[in-house]
Amino acid sequence: MTVSASLTARRSVSLAALFARLAPAIFLALLIVLFTALAPRFFSALNLFNVLRQVSIYGILAVGMTFVILTRGIDLSVGALAALAGAVAAVVAKGHADTRFVLPFFPEGLPWEFAALAAILTGGLGGLIQGIIIARLGVPSFVVTLGGMTVFRGLTLIVGNGGPIAGFDADFGWWGRGLIGPVPVPVIVFALVAVVAAVVLGATRYGRSVYAVGANPEAARLCGIDRAKVETSVYALTGLAAGLGGFLLASRLNSAEAVAGSQYELTVIAAVVIGGASLYGGRGGIGGTLVGTLLIGVLLNGLVILNVSPYVQQLLIGAIIVGAVTFDVFIKRQFR
């Protein structure tokens, strides 16, 4: 009842909140220490860049997904949309998918710039359409993007006529496989995307609207925020990210395949949630998503280096996702 007692209680609440925020980073640091102790070659520059390259495409998608999850939504279509964007990029770059599908006017194909642009626009358009259905028509995002996932997969099969579209020029391939100094190009792209997203979320009116809509959609409306516009935009942004990711994926594999990006959505959602974003909206951020993405990358890489069976890898990742969300729910209850 006394003032000092209530102040102490408040302080402990704020410590718990601080711990909750830092928990993913602490867990990541512990994992790195653990893997380094068990297998010293884990902590080599070569392997660490390897980890970063492996997670860069997941990471780009996860940055987009962060916006969606902040507004209480979910996007299950990102993997399929990335595959579609990759196929579009491949057709633009090569001028044809196979003998049946030829790019009008440019049967010899176009330079990589056009391919990249086409991929990103494809992703953005796919996301925008889903966003409109979700925000304007009020259909749950889970359903819309579940359907979208199948639709985009189907479109990818149609564009590529079922088969891979492989073999690009060196400029196209540089984006997925090139290096700048010791740093893989996709890692740099990922870093740029993350920085831009962090600035947008943290320092713009739009970014604050995203948080507001997720934290309390009705109160956001009373604050003059156009909820539908904000909601539509986050799916369009995720689509743009998926388009970029699809381009990088096709470049890295030197092939656009219909099954590319399969189940990426699960890894990506896991990364965002492990990073501390709340599926109830309004809480999370790019920093957390980076940590979550790295955590998954480190875990996968470390388990491979330690020769852990892929079956056990799956089990561990699943358990960590459930653990992270349970933790999130638990923390939320502490606040109420």
């Binding site: 909140a17 604050r208 109160a219 009373l222 003059g224 925020i225 709340s278 309004g282 606040f335």
Partner: protein, 524 residues
């Protein structure tokens, strides 16, 4: 104090049709976090009796109902059923004991059929343990027929009107063979003919020997329907007796009881018109929807909007703020036509709304204090956002509002309700509105914070802001307003200068008695 002397006790045998006492409350006391909300309240209900429970908002009516229906446990005192002390750990236990409570928010199931919701929790089953739908429907039909309600038991509850849903609630009580029925403001949202139907049913229940505890704000209804009354004020039972011995005016005085705060000295006779409302109608045609409302509001003026829940006060505010579509009628803001299609448009024109339901509409519990403060869109914001500047700005308001916060970076969920409300107020004040609408500005706010909020509203008006204040707290309305409009069922029933108004008079207007002199719509 002197009114406490007016506590009346019913003369023994004064209640003619009285049966045995079924349910009684003995010196019930309830405290929340050290605050006594109900103190030593006793009350008894006889079979066949319709007892009115009266009191202003916050008098303790809901707490008493919750104690009798097992939703809360008393700290002191006892509930007796047929003379034997009973403990009701859960609402379910009250239900089983034959005490049915019909609340303002119905506990029905929108997606289920009428028959299903009547028997939810105790669906009759056949010998295979499967639901006996034939029996469910038959018994439902029977129960509804007993009320004279023509409702098909197969209809979806969500499709029924409020009045029909209420009948289903009552039918549910009947199927449970309830001996005590507690009704919490059952007529708050009913049309006059529906009220008649409900009254007939309540009388029939009483004639069948059921004891009814009837909560209502409408005094004329109580005089017409109830046999006996108990008045609560500030958590105590201050008057009790036979309705036949009193009239509406006496009951109103029992409810108010305290020295009425003096009306605000009418200010420097206000400035130019800020808001003009003429013949405003809501888009929907639900009973009680806003109809033909006209008024004006001048700069520097505080206009109080009084009425019971559902009278249309919040609906008017929502239309002015662009939240709900306007059916017909015109709004003028500072002399120009004003037809906001979204809150963003209203905000851009200098209108601010502090909503009624703070948790649901006001704050972002996930976000911190500064972000809650800076949430509304403002054209002045530049890129990048300057959190430091926002904090300094909030700091200025924090000083004026006596905001107590563990820091502006703390989650707003850690602030008390009163301080959360201050942050919401500061949010809107930062935009320097010309029209500020406050809806129940001090609901759920402690006494100190309430005084702070009142002082702020007065100061704003002195600075020339036009304030439209909605409140169910009549002393608050009387203390702050220059003029007071009363609404009932979507229509204006009167306009009074605060200096001339009294709680009794306002209460009568809110209950629908026509004003003397009759209310005149203001000419635009």
């Amino acid at each position: 104090m002197s009114l406490d002397a007016a506590v009346e006790r019913a003369a023994p045998g004064g209640f003619v049709r009285s049966g045995e006492v079924i349910l009684s409350a003995e010196t019930l006391t309830k405290r929340f976090f050290g605050v006594t909300v109900l103190e030593g309240v006793s009350l008894s209900l006889r079979g066949g009796e319709i007892r009115a429970l009266l009191g202003e908002n916050g008098a303790g009516k809901s707490t008493l109902i919750n104690l009798l229906s097992g939703a809360l446990q008393p700290d002191e005192g006892a509930v007796r059923l047929d003379g034997a002390r009973i403990v009701l750990p859960r609402p379910l236990d009250a239900d089983r004991a034959g005490i049915a409570t019909i609340r303002q928010e119905f506990s029905l199931f929108g997606e289920l059929s009428v028959a299903e919701s009547l028997f939810a929790g105790h669906l009759p089953v056949n010998r295979f343990g499967l639901v006996d739908w034939r029996q469910v429907e038959g018994r439902a039909r029977q129960a509804l027929a007993r009320l004279g309600a023509l409702i098909d038991p197969r209809r979806r509850v969500g499709d029924l009107s409020v009045a029909e849903q209420q009948l289903v609630e009552i039918a549910r009580a009947l199927t449970r063979r309830a001996r005590v029925v507690i009704m919490d403001e059952p007529t708050a949202s009913l049309s006059p003919s529906e009220v008649e139907t409900l009254h007939a049913i309540v009388r029939k229940l009483a004639a069948d020997g059921v004891a009814v505890l009837y909560v209502s704000h409408r005094l004329e209804e109580i005089v017409a329907l109830c046999h006996s009354y108990t008045v609560l004020r500030d958590g105590r039972a201050v008057a009790e007796g036979e309705v036949a011995d009193v009239d509406a005016e006496v009951l109103a005085r029992f409810m108010v009881g305290r020295a009425v705060e003096k009306g605000r000295q009418s200010t420097n006779s206000a400035g130019a018109e800020v808001l003009g409302v003429s013949r405003l109608n809501a888009a929907g045609d639900a009973p009680g929807a806003v109809r033909d409302v006209s008024f004006t509001l001048r700069a520097g003026e505080i206009l109080g909007l009084a009425g019971i829940v559902g009278a249309g006060r919040t609906e008017i505010a929502r239309m002015i703020f662009g939240l709900d579509p306007i059916g017909s009628g015109e709004l003028r803001l500072a002399g120009e036509a004003f037809a906001p299609r979204s809150p963003a448009e209203a905000i851009a024109r200098g209108v601010a709304l502090v909503p009624e339901d703070r948790q649901k509409l006001g704050v972002f519990l996930e976000l911190d204090v500064v972000e809650n403060f800076a949430a509304p869109r403002s054209p002045k914001d530049r890129f990048p956002l300057d959190r430091g500047r926002e904090k300094r700005l909030l700091g200025e308001f924090a000083a004026k509002l006596a905001l107590r916060s563990p820091g502006f970076d703390a989650a707003i969920a850690r602030l008390s309700g009163g301080n959360q409300q201050k942050v919401v107020l500061a949010r809107w004040l930062a935009l320097a509105p010309r029209l500020l609408i406050v809806d129940e500005p001090t609901r759920g706010v402690d006494v100190a914070a309430k005084a702070d909020v009142h002082a702020l509203i007065r100061r704003l008006a002195a600075q020339g802001v036009a304030v439209l204040m909605i409140s169910s707290d009549l002393p608050e309305i009387l203390a702050l307003s220059d003029r007071i409009l009363t609404l009932r069922a979507g229509r204006l029933t009167g306009e009074s200068r605060a200096a001339d108004a009294s709680e009794e008079a306002l209460m009568r207007l809110m209950a629908g008695e026509t004003a003397t002199p009759p209310a005149e719509p203001l000419r635009p």
